[in-house]
């Protein structure tokens, strides 16, 4: 069954460690390419001084690429952190719902983190939790 979220590049069949290793090797290769290009422009600039501007442009491009890569890595980590927080929130909400005894959401199994229904269930659980809180406050009065 084709899941709409499963068309990305994150559904690799290789172990995560190998993926990370390949990423690291590719990063090294990319840096080697960039350094080689800057070095080549530098060699050329010794004879044709106009090429110092090309060196400057290449250095600028290298900075843009590396900053872009770093930004992606930071953003991916932020997403992962946010997901962890959401999962913790779901667990806490379910525990609270279980204590009260009224179970609206089906508490049967773990939802896959990249399922399309994941965030809907998250919101549903949070809403249910909030409603229970409200009801318990009303009951206490």
């Amino acid at each position: 069954m084709p899941d709409p979220l499963h068309h990305g590049l994150n559904q690799s069949r290789w172990p995560k460690r190998i993926g990370r290793l390949i990423d690291a090797i590719c990063l090294v290769a990319l840096i080697v390419v960039i350094v080689t290009v800057i070095y080549g422009f530098w060699l050329r600039a010794i004879w044709a001084h106009g090429y110092y501007l090309a060196v400057a442009v290449a250095v600028l491009g290298a900075f843009v690429i590396l900053i872009g890569l770093a930004q992606q890595a930071i953003a991916a980590r932020d997403v992962a952190t946010w997901r962890d927080m959401a999962e913790w929130q779901i667990r806490a909400a379910r525990a609270a719902a279980g204590q009260v005894g009224a179970t609206q959401a089906d508490p049967d199994d773990e939802i896959e983190a990249n399922a399309a229904a994941y965030y809907e269930i998250l919101i549903g659980t949070l809403v249910a939790h909030a409603e229970q809180d409200e009801r318990s406050i009303v009951d206490e009065r």
Partner: protein
């Protein structure tokens, strides 16, 4: 596995720009490797002016960037852009188009 939006396929301007830059670096690599390997022979060869080289790289790399614009910005995908930029320039050199 994580449903990381940064690893999904899909075109975006930042992706286009980074793959374009990477393809430009591949193009420059093809231009500059002879200079680095055959330092003594090539040093007095006639070279295009730096701005025409940059413009040429930028224009051919547009093709690579359009093709790769849907790939995520990871080192693994950038290397593919570098290779495509290199290959495009090699094709042009082989065909003696420029």
């Amino acid at each position: 596995m994580s449903g990381d939006p940064h690893l999904e396929l899909g075109e975006s301007l930042p992706r286009f720009l980074s793959h374009w830059l990477a393809a430009c670096f591949g193009h420059f690599l093809m231009v500059l490797l002879p200079l680095i390997t055959d330092w003594a022979q090539v040093k007095n060869a006639t070279w295009p002016s730096w701005w025409s080289l940059l413009l040429f790289a930028a224009s051919t790399s547009l093709v690579a960037a359009i093709i790769n614009a849907n790939l995520p910005v990871t080192p693994r995908e950038m290397i593919k852009s570098v290779a495509l930029g290199f290959a495009l320039n090699a094709t042009i050199v082989m065909l003696r188009l420029a």
